[in-house]
Amino acid sequence: MLDFMFIFFASLALLGGLLMAFHPNIVHSAFALVAALFGVAGLYWTLGADFLGATQVLLYVGGITVLLLFAVMLSTRDAARISIARYALMAPIVGLLGAFLVTTGKALVPIVRAAGGALGPTEPTTEKIGNLFMDPTAFMLPFEILAVLLLVVLVGAITLARRGEEDAA
């Protein structure tokens, strides 16, 4: 059952990614990206990283893709044009991938296990992550540097937005 879920989420991530890359309508592409990110979150979950999976949905689906949508929705005049040619290009890829998943998807599972991945939420990960962040010998320094990095990003974002505003005026 968990193996089936692993394959399901893996195909969701792959197909979502492909659809995002090949769909001519950029808003539909953004929604395909949502599906792909959900697939990745599901993969994290099946591999036992529940905190990471929830964070993936919260930040990437609930935050970053919303920003992408904001940018995409209004930068295009009419995004509802559909070109058959690109769909035609996509069809064989999807077909091949589907065939691959059906035939060899089951074989992926032992590979994941062999690589040390535990299938299924074995134990809570939140406490572990918290302890690693606060451990001076582990990830304490990266954690604090990350705070500074986010501050730099913040300044950069405001500066860029300001420039855009002045150019528009």
Binding site: T55, L69, F70, T126
Partner: protein, 349 residues
Amino acid sequence: MSFSEEPLLYIGVNLAKIIIVTHVVLVVCAYAVLAERKVSAWMQDRVGPNRVGYFGLLQPIADALKFFFKEDIVPGHVNKALFVLAPAIALMPSLIVLAVIPIAPPVVVMGHTVPMVIADLDIGILFLFAISSLAVYGVVLAGWASNSKYPLLGGVRASAQMISYELMLGLSVVGIFMATGTLRLMDIVNLQVDGVWNCFYHPIAFIIFVIAAFAETNRLPFDLPEAETELVAGYHTEYGSMKFAMFFIGEYAAMFGFSALVAVLFLGGWDIPFMSSETFASLGNWGAVVGFISFMTKVLAFMFLYIWVRWTIPRFRYDQLMNLGWKVLLPIALVNVIITGLFNLPKGS
């Protein structure tokens, strides 16, 4: 009890829990609409709906039937696929978040102790925030797919408002996790049953959370996305029939979800003052019934607060809304985290 040992019983019990929870929510939603109309009528010295059934009690059923039999219009200027998808996306997250909300003390079924929560996830609250952050897609999508000016304005406003206040929601509850040391909602309730309700321990977090919950559900005084005096109906202006009703169900289910979350996080869940977990356990399965009634009382009281506030406080302006969130609530929530940290200094230090 687990899936691998007794799959049929496991699936049956979980199916029963899902059906009970979702149907309670849907019935409450239907009658919350009636309550909203009744309460607003009384506050404005009117009678309110009183024609369909005694006291208007059959009104929700009549409304639902009428929604189904109305013409299902998909206007020619919209993006058809996304236009149909939007109400579904607006509705689903508010049902899925119910998965992690504990509604009553455990029940004993055929020798198994069954926790009365659909999925007792270790990352409970994070799962809830992650899923409820998806509700913004229904709104953005409806606004964009409608290809019309009012829905777009409403959709963009709603999304900026929802993501802003999501931040306050997430930040205000950090203090609770510092004191309890868990994200699992069941544990948070159990600690309150045998201790003090969190609203007394974390009063600032409680107030911020309640304000953010109002903004997150787009309810007055923060209903800028559907401010009818300027935007007609906001993001669902172009919708009709059952698709319109789905936005409504989604909104009321989200109200129920946040009311339940307030009850679980701050008001002790199913706790009744001066009753300990032993008292509930000694009552057996009746303890679960008593606990469920207590939980529902809190939820319904908070939903009444939603309605009461709607007909009492006028609408904010959009800049006031954003200023309140980003310039007032955010720093208060940050400072609150530090203060909570000082009050709950690690033991033995």
